[in-house]
């Protein structure tokens, strides 16, 4: 199965999970997602997700000037974001358990 299709459904959770580690900016967020194994994640998809989560009131943002180049916008989780991550994690775990059970039955 094309993993990009799976990724669409969980990218929000993945982004929230990375930001839960600590605030960061877009380029670094993409890098961390890829290092985590989501190698096919699209840069534009991450920025779109950040924009949607930020507009939904789940993120904080802060412009941090950089001596090396353009200012970077750092994103972080606010309380609503943390709460959303908790709910998404719970949903994902339930979903993953169901799927694992189904796939296990299939093997047996």
């Amino acid at each position: 199965m094309d993993s990009t299709q799976l990724l669409k459904g969980v990218l929000d959770t993945a982004v929230l999970a990375v930001l839960d580690r600590g605030r960061t900016y877009g380029y670094d967020l993409v890098r961390q997602l890829r290092e985590s194994g989501l190698v096919e994640v699209g840069d534009a998809s991450v920025y779109g997700t950040l924009r949607r989560l930020f507009s939904g009131g789940y993120l904080t943002s802060e412009i941090v000037p950089s001596e090396e180049g353009p200012a970077r916008k750092y994103y972080g989780l606010n309380a609503a974001g943390t709460d959303l991550l908790d709910r998404s994690t719970k949903d994902w775990n339930e979903f993953a358990t169901v799927m694992s059970g189904l796939l296990q039955q299939e093997k047996e």
Partner: protein, 331 residues
């Protein structure tokens, strides 16, 4: 990482901004802040490799961000791309130069386009007969109607141009030009477009019978199947044998030749006391080839009509006689 973006990255950012032009300034600023920092991390050569084209980037961004009415709209991205190209084109030196030249000839064009439109219509419908009194086009076989139509078309052209501030008139004026341009293209694409009668002169063999065979002669018979004496001439006074024109031309320039060859046999023209060919003097002496390849005097066919000999159809009694350049039976 450099403090300022390279031209390639600036160009990329610019195209993204154009493709996102429908967003509010605030939203656009949010997006470009992220992207600007991202671009700064990349080398020039890997910008499109990593991010895709600006339009693809925006497409993916919109889909992921769940953006309003134009989410996932390829059309919007295409529109943005076209807008950008249009801007680039209209700001180019060549375009500006062309506009300057066009502004000089534009008044003349407004005068000419009405006449040109009517003239092209005339050319397309009448072919070579479209200008009986140049420059007045012929409309419906009438030069007067062509004059009136051309004047009316010129008046409409100038009137539309004067009302340039009126959006609808401006639209009509543009349409007018487009129609004339279209007619011009059609005319250029069909330079020989004219009624089939105009082709008659160009046909080297004259009349064409069924099966595209050239008509070699015309014989007259009465209703009983008897040949009758009729002298037929073409508009140049030549006997209507419809020989290829080169036969007459060769005969005129080579009077010493007794006989002049055709594709189908030979012909001899009578001459006056000064040796000049008399092309319209009957009977012409013509010879055709027999089945044995011998030159024999040509004779007209004898047709059988229903009732004339009791048989059906057109039987012949001299079927072996070549009829291609046979003389008319006027002896």
């Amino acid at each position: 990482m450099s403090l300022t973006l390279s031209p390639i990255k600036t160009g990329y950012l610019g195209r993204v901004k154009i493709a996102l032009a429908d967003l509010s300034a605030e939203d656009l600023e949010e997006v470009t802040q992220d992207l600007e920092a991202h671009l700064a991390e990349l080398a020039d050569g890997e910008v499109e490799t990593v991010l895709g084209t600006p339009e693809a980037f925006v497409y993916e961004f919109r889909a992921s961000a769940g953006l309003d009415r134009e989410t996932s709209s390829r059309l919007a991205n295409t529109r943005a791309w076209v807008r950008q190209r249009e801007t680039r084109l209209t700001r180019s030196a060549g375009w500006i130069r062309a506009e300057r030249h066009w502004s000089r000839v534009h008044p003349a064009w407004l005068w000419v386009r009405g006449w040109l439109g009517v003239s092209l219509l005339s050319v397309l419908s009448n072919g070579a007969d479209s200008f009986r009194a140049f420059p007045i086009p012929t409309i419906g076989n009438s030069t007067l109607l062509g004059l009136v139509t051309a004047m009316l078309a010129t008046w409409v052209s100038l009137t539309l141009a004067r009302q340039r501030k009126d959006t609808f008139a401006s639209f009509l004026s543009g349409t007018y030009t487009a129609v004339v341009a279209l007619l011009l293209l059609v005319s250029l694409a069909n330079p020989t477009s004219h009624p089939p009668t105009q082709d008659f002169e160009a046909m080297p063999q004259g009349l064409i019978s069924e099966g595209w065979n050239p008509v070699q002669n015309i014989y007259a018979f009465d209703t009983d199947g008897n040949s009758i004496q009729v002298l037929l001439y073409d508009h140049d006074g030549r006997p209507l044998l419809n020989l290829p024109s080169y036969v007459y031309e060769e005969a005129e320039i080579a009077p010493l030749e007794e006989r002049h060859s055709t594709d189908f046999g030979q012909v001899h023209f009578e001459r006056d006391e000064l040796g000049r060919m008399i092309p319209n003097l009957y009977p012409l002496q013509t010879w055709g080839y027999s089945d044995y390849g011998e030159l024999v005097p040509s004779r007209p066919p004898s047709l059988g009509f229903p009732g004339s000999d009791g048989s059906e159809g057109g039987g012949t009694e001299e079927e072996n006689v070549p009829t291609t350049v046979a003389t008319s039976d006027v002896n």
